[in-house]
């Protein structure tokens, strides 16, 4: 083939580029070593030839005049916008020198490694942090409020993550005979067409809609899918737990639950001490000296005695028993004292009892009859699929909220069934995006790992996710307590425009540090404040791999642009400089190691481009809990402390959090702060997605910017009329923390008492240096949202439920 001919290469999308969590198969047209066109690959089962506007704009993104193409070193004051180009050797030498000095003088924990959302970064930035020796790898969104709370809650409830089965595990997709179309899909807080969320493809729901799936939508906004739903519940932001508990109440009262599944697979028969202020799961060790503290206790109704659930053997110590599901029992403890205990199921029913549709209606604004109808619709459908979105994370009550919603599919048995919520694991167990430190490429000595910021404040931070807690990190940058923070490595993140709440605090924090590096593709408000800026490659300019959740995909380097390097290459080079005996010479070696569980090399993966695990593989559904495919010991059951789905959570009990779900008011709301509400009478919600943009990206891409020029505030026509605001007029959105000025989008889509502001806005075309920082302060809604309001457990933040007032801007 001649060089000037067009070559077509198959590869897979991820960031950087479209910005999203990727996964689409594409055909890249290359001529003279330049990408001239990107098309969807009709043979890829994920997108089947389709492609979104962001990926279709890749040529404008890659070859944009403002693309960073060489490393930059700051030469003026921070924020003055004065940089000079340096070579990669100079950049690496400078970074190595500065970071090693900080490590020597203050310890490796004084350097923070700060990433953005689910980009192709998790493995590589943790590798760099650990090679340097710092435990402080972090995602900067307050309360880690992006999927982590839901992942944590799913992990401790059913031992694994679950996502809706839209046939993504089948090469033939919807036509596979093993697959069933969901009778109902419940969409809880997500605007599907504008998102490619959480390892999912939003438009699969349009495919399902065409095939007969009916929709139940729970959203404060009348989204596109809400307007086509059989039932739409317009709830008050931040009251989702109450609504889910209302569903549970109705489902139990009307016997719409799958009792056979609950009895067999959940910890509902286990006994809990009911005579103490705090309930506590009874253990074998409570009943007898030398009893195990990992074994639980149930009641045998036939012999009216207590039996032990042997966790290790995943069986009761007495054969053929059917334990009592309900009741309160007198029990003698090992020390001879008397106690009372109830079954989990009895406590669970008592807990749900108070959430009557009428009470829930008062909390959520959803009429009681609609709550009943919705609970019936969800529970009676077979199969029933439940899709949830980021609003479940971006509230301080995220833990009980995630738990209550997760219970809906557990109570109805819609778990790992075709067309329900399937357990999602990385294809072939290839970890490209670690959650636990155990999944990362390198590990830290325990004495260093113990210095991770926030881990001693919150159980879930300590035991679930390997990230530092971002609110605590920001506090510590200013307090220096218990140790000084001296530097920050920022990669795939733009906290000043996007992930940082109270972004002026983040600006001050970044400027306070001794040394900061930003890795990005364009100059951003955050990069403008840093000391060294490294130009990153897009996904078409790098080798990588992706397994989130299925298929296992190859990402192939197609071309080079300027001197840009991939995030992986950058981090690998620095790992070698920071760590003696770093085990990988190059990225291929690293990828081959990661692919060991798939039994292939990176080259073999590239030859295939994508691979779906075969039937019977533990990373492929269905009903794996019956087949012994989930647990390491190959016994049926789940990867939880008891091996059961834990409706009463032993992990939450251990962390001294409420073990069962409940409603908690948002910290600022008409109910919790009525005085503030008089001055700020509208609920401010943010974060709804904009199709052409991914978070703070793409405002400089002409084809995308054409779809929406300016940031808007959604406001209901009645509310706009009340405040004398016309469509398209500039309005101020203000509360006690800050103010922004944006255009009013007057629309019946939003509830009259709620306004919805867009996040992530800045203007690449405006002045970059301070104080402007690309106009970010005029429009960044995060200025109205506080840091340090993380929920109990260190997760969640009030991003979806603040208060504000809105008035016409002057001039």
């Amino acid at each position: 083939m001649k060089d000037d001919e067009v070559k077509i290469i198959k590869t897979t999308t991820w960031s950087p580029g479209p910005g999203c969590h990727g996964g689409c198969g594409i055909l890249v047209h290359v001529k003279d070593n330049k990408v001239i066109k990107v098309e969807g690959d009709p043979d890829h089962p994920w997108n089947q030839g389709r492609l979104c506007s962001r990926c279709l704009s890749m040529t404008q993104y890659m070859y944009h005049k403002d693309r960073l193409k060489k490393p930059l070193k700051r030469v003026g004051e921070r924020g003055q916008g004065k940089f000079e180009e340096i070579s990669w050797d100079e950049a690496f030498d400078l970074i190595e020198h500065k970071m090693k000095k900080i490590r020597n003088d203050h310890g490796p924990e004084s350097f923070i490694f700060h990433q953005g959302t689910g980009r192709d970064i998790g493995g590589w930035i943790s590798m760099l942090a650990y090679a340097y020796g710092s435990p402080n790898w972090m995602f900067g969104l307050s309360g880690i409020s992006c999927y982590t709370p839901r992942l944590m809650m799913m992990s401790i409830t059913q031992g694994d993550f679950a996502v809706v089965d839209a046939s993504q595990w089948h090469e033939k997709r919807y036509d596979d005979p093993e697959y069933e179309i969901p009778e109902t899909a419940t969409i809880w807080g997500q605007n599907l067409p504008a998102t490619c969320p959480d390892g999912f493809f939003g438009h699969w729901y349009v495919d399902l809609m065409k095939r007969g799936t009916q929709f139940l939508v729970i959203d404060p906004r009348c989204t596109w899918i809400a307007s086509r739903a059989k039932l739409w519940l317009q709830l008050r932001p931040g009251t989702d737990a109450a609504l889910a508990l209302g569903f549970i109440h109705v489902m139990i009262k009307e016997d719409l639950i799958n009792m056979e599944f609950i009895e067999k697979w959940t910890n509902s028969p286990f006994l809990v001490r009911s005579d103490q202020k705090k309930p506590a799961l009874l253990k074998e060790s409570d009943l007898k000296v030398n009893g195990s503290d990992i074994n639980f206790v149930a009641h045998d109704p036939v012999s009216d005695s207590f039996v032990v659930w042997d966790t290790e053997n995943q069986a009761y110590k007495k054969t053929d028993i059917v334990p009592s599901m309900e009741g309160e029992f007198d029990i003698t403890l090992s020390d001879g004292s008397k106690a009372k205990a109830k079954t989990v199921w009895t406590l669970y029913k008592e807990n749900a009892e108070e959430y009557t549709p009428e009470k829930v209606s008062e909390i959520t604004w959803v009429p009681a009859d609609k709550i009943r109808k919705a609970a019936r619709m969800y529970a009676k459908s077979k199969p029933s699929a439940l899709h949830w979105g980021l609003p479940i994370d971006t509230i301080p009550s995220t833990i009980p909220t995630s738990q209550a919603i997760n219970h809906l599919w557990c109570l109805t048995g819609n778990l790992d069934n075709p067309g329900g919520n399937a357990i999602a694991r990385y294809a072939y167990d290839v970890v490209t995006y670690p959650y636990h430190s155990g999944g990362s490429i390198l590990s830290l000595p325990p004495e260093v790992a113990q210095k991770r910021i926030g881990m001693h404040d919150y159980g879930p931070i300590k035991d679930f996710r390997a990230w530092a807690q971002p609110d605590k990190v920001l506090e510590q940058i200013f307090s220096g307590d218990p140790y000084e923070v001296k530097g920050m490595w920022i990669q795939t993140a733009n906290p000043i425009a996007c992930t940082g709440m109270e972004p002026r605090k983040w600006r001050d924090a970044i400027k306070k540090l001794d040394f900061t590096v930003c890795v990005d593709l364009f100059m951003t408000p955050t990069a403008m404040l840093c000391d060294v800026i490294l130009p990153a490659a897009t996904f078409l300019e790098k080798d990588s791999l992706r397994a989130w959740w299925v298929p296992l995909n190859a990402i192939k380097k197609v071309v080079e642009v300027g001197e840009c390097k991939s995030d992986i290459e950058i981090n690998l080079e620095l790992c070698k400089r920071f760590m003696k005996d770093f085990p990988y010479d190059n990225t291929q070696q690293l990828f081959d190691t990661l692919l060991k569980s798939a039994g292939i090399t990176y080259k073999e993966l590239c030859d295939n481009t994508w691979m779906i695990p075969p039937k019977g593989h533990p990373s492929r559904p269905y009903f794996r809990y019956e087949k012994g495919l989930l647990r390491e010991d190959k016994k049926p059951g789940f990867r939880t402390p008891s091996g059961k789905i834990e409706l009463y959570s032993s992990w939450l009990e251990k962390w001294e959090l409420a073990p069962m779900p409940y409603h908690e008011e948002p910290p600022y709301s008409p109910v919790s702060t009525p005085d503030l509400f008089k001055d700020y009478p509208l609920i401010l919600s943010t974060g709804r997605r904009m199709g052409p943009y991914f978070h703070s990206e793409h405002r400089q891409i002409p084809w995308l910017r054409e779809q929406q020029r300016d940031p808007v505030l959604e406001i209901h026509p009645d509310t706009a009329k009340k405040y004398g605001i016309a469509h398209g007029e500039k309005v101020c959105v203000e509360n006690w923390l800050g103010k922004i000025t944006v255009k009013a989008l007057v629309t019946p889509v939003i509830h009259p008492d709620i306004v919805m502001a867009e996040h992530g806005w800045w203007f690449p075309e405006k002045e970059g240096k301070e104080p402007s920082l690309f106009g970010v302060w005029d429009v960044n809604v995060n200025q109205l949202i506080p840091m340090s309001h993380e929920g109990k457990g260190g997760l969640g933040s009030p991003i979806k439920s603040m208060l504000c007032k809105v008035y016409k801007a002057k001039g």
């Binding site: 990107v38 098309e39 979104c52 279709l56 349009v206 596109w224 052409p692 995308l704 629309t747 889509v749």
Partner: protein
């Protein structure tokens, strides 16, 4: 000017989500610079009783639409049709597509050239 094409675009606007993939696919295919494109998407937000609204998006081929004749000659779908995230665009002969109109509501047939 007489009609030069017997082909058209069938739009099933029940399923169009307003994602703009068609608009940008056209720009990429034909090298249009914003705001030019051979297909644009209109938004209609209709109030309904009981505080509900109905959102409709309607792709509309503009004066710049050439029905991707270079692609269709090779047996490919027009760029907008291939990339439509909702699979709600169909390219074909006007006569065949008009029969499709009888099969379900909420569709329009455009004859751009």
């Amino acid at each position: 000017m007489g009609k030069s094409s017997t082909n058209g675009l069938l739009i099933d606007y029940e399923y169009c989500t307003g994602c703009f993939a068609c608009t940008v696919a056209c720009c990429q295919e034909h090298g249009w610079e914003a705001p030019l494109s051979g297909i644009k998407v209109m938004e209609i937000v209709q109030d309904l009783p009981k505080d509900k609204a109905y959102l409709t998006f309607l792709p509309f081929p503009t004066e710049l639409c050439v029905l991707c004749s270079k692609r269709t000659r090779k047996g490919l779908d027009p760029a907008c049709v291939q990339h439509c995230m909702a699979n709600c665009l169909t390219y074909g002969k006007l006569r065949d597509l008009s029969c499709e109109l009888e099969k379900k509501p909420r569709m329009v047939l455009w004859s751009p050239r």
